[in-house]
Point group: C2
Chain length 371, copies 2
């Protein structure tokens, strides 16, 4: 049984327990849903229908690509439904001979106006759209990486680490002089080593721009690696899965900049020391916030987040009331403390952690590099 069929099986069980007859996933522009790829292997632009009768139907935008990538019971081109999601949904209900009155669950990302249209198009069925339904279950399952995924991550991390070493070398030698030099270097070296690309737009912010959490534009022709603090945040995507690391280059840092760096490194070590199975993720983030607070500093973002087919997945590692995630084996997530000062610039240190039965394994080797 393929890895995709195994994943679907878990959802079929859940559907049976919850009496859901049909689930509709959609991956489309502005409504990206990586669960389609996770469940079918098809990398993008498709609707995926799962029936409680344990059948899967993919409706891809590009049937030629589906033939190459998709592992499903049946694939029907989107054009057969006039490229319209509501027609595809009605078609799937017919294909699966869904009894009237059956429960059909749609994504909680479905807009309110679209929800009303689904209710109309699936007249006679019970359309369900909720946050704590099958999407939450799918995203919960995706937080636990299976052996295939962990194998992919080891490879992705290996490439990322090679590129980190090369970046350090070339910033030191002066071959990488600008933000664009760094960003383009990552694109080239990652793809050369078999990556699909970067997992998100690389953020390279030289000393003049590192004060921004997410500098805008993400990279420019501005100098990188000169006197002060430069931030480089990137991920490489291998077989669908992205790493996410941040390096800080500190060139002759002034005393105030040294304090930012030292505090960030201390926060990183604190976070790592608390990372263990059974720990509520929120506790770690709260401890780091408290550490920064003692120095009258505030970190304007969460401490970390799960990674996977998407840049931001579960578990959340942030200090918010509604964060109920407990760290468990199989989870892969970032720890990324950072501090940003409008005058002195910013620094961030981010690595990817795999939690195993025997504790945390730091997959990536990002660091603060003193030039």
């Amino acid at each position: 049984m393929s890895v995709y069929a195994k994943r679907r099986e878990k959802l079929y069980d859940w559907m049976a327990r919850e009496s859901i007859a049909l689930v509709i996933f959609e991956d489309a522009e502005k409504r990206r849903d990586a669960s389609v790829r996770w469940l079918s292997g098809h990398p993008h632009d498709a609707m995926l229908f799962l029936s409680v009768e344990q059948k899967s139907l993919l409706v891809p935008w590009d049937i030629n690509q589906a033939k190459l990538f998709a592992d499903v019971d049946l694939a029907v081109p989107y054009s057969e439904f006039s490229r319209h999601p509501l027609m595809a949904a009605a078609g799937a209900a017919e294909q699966f001979r869904l009894p009237k009155g059956s429960k059909v669950e749609i994504s909680p990302a479905t807009s309110y106006p679209s929800f009303l249209k689904y209710v109309e198009a699936l007249d006679g069925f019970d359309v369900i759209c909720r946050e704590r339904g099958i999407w939450a279950e799918t995203e919960r399952l995706r937080a636990f990486k299976d052996e295939e995924e962990i194998g992919i991550y080891r490879k992705a991390a290996e490439i990322t680490n090679t590129v980190i070493d090369l970046l350090e070398k070339h910033v030191r030698s002066g071959k990488i002089k600008t933000e664009a030099d760094a960003a383009v270097f990552i694109e080239i070296e990652g793809r050369k080593r078999g990556c699909e690309g970067t997992g998100f737009e690389t953020l390279a912010a030289g000393p003049e721009r590192s004060f921004g959490i997410h500098a805008f534009p993400p990279y420019t022709g501005a100098p990188f690696g000169g006197k002060g603090l430069s931030i480089l945040d990137f991920g490489l995507k291998f077989a669908g899965y992205t790493t996410d690391v941040t390096l800080t280059f500190a060139n002759s840092p002034a005393a105030a900049q040294e304090r930012l760096l030292a505090l960030t490194e201390r926060a990183y070590r604190l976070g790592l020391s608390m990372t263990e199975n059974g720990r509520p993720a929120r506790e770690i983030a709260a401890a780091v916030d408290a550490l920064f607070g003692k120095s009258k500093k505030t970190m304007p973002h969460g401490l970390g987040h799960g990674i996977g087919l998407e840049e931001h997945e579960n578990p959340q590692v942030r200090n918010r009331d509604d964060n109920e995630w407990i760290l468990e084996p199989g989870m892969i997530f970032t720890l990324e403390p950072g501090l940003y000062d409008p005058v002195h610039g910013g620094c961030r240190l981010e690595n990817d952690i795999l939690l195993t039965e025997s504790g945390p394994e730091i997959l990536t080797k990002a660091r603060i590099i003193r030039l």
Copy 2:
């Protein structure tokens, strides 16, 4: 008055006519809304509140960046609302002293579960979420580029055309040999000339992969420009606005490939000849579909689309019942006929057209290049 204030003024008029007291825009991960930038200058990650009293409030994720980019009446950091959209919304209602019972309009992209939460958080107000409301009006207004935007597009097109010429030169000379060579070249040359980056991930598909409408991965280390058909689809983003062009490189095409190329060029000329003020956009797309149909070919995507702060904006230029767009002066859109064959590969020709009072002006110079 700034260009942003002028744009907001048009919406205030509309709000007054429709008795909408407050409008809430949100640009966030997975819920991108370029209207925030269009209305405030702030490039990303923020909520924007417009009150019918003609006041604007920006709640940015990064207040340091807002100070540099935003042109609004008031900016308050997101952290003051515990980085929570519902708290920011309630805060804005308080800030503007909104009378109970007032109408508050939220984006039609708001999910059904979030809609219910907004209704709860804005208790006492009338929360409106509809497709044909202020979002449709904002997107309608964005389809008509003002002088500032047309100026930006002339510059973006100039850079794009320079890069197109360089691409042709380097594919011919053999300096560009792989898909990644072509894609990375565009990144570097665009940014070198002042672009923010590419408007979307460049799609470079060599002869082995050009059969896909949108090849996956978008580019790899595979050969580009060798015998057969290679497609290169890219856009350069200048001051927020993206171009969108597609070149096809045809190297010693076989007879079947020549037929695809000739038919695509014919479709492009037909589309262009029908492009005029007052013409329903759907008519052009229907004529091209009919032309392809006569040769028993099907184009698996729309003929074109508006461009702007986003890759896909209004007007739509597609052959669908619900496409009611009429072409008018100030619109900038693509024409991009293409044909894809699993055996012979694909070809597409795409340029950006500005419609002026005196007719269409082809801004970009993409072409089918025979090697």
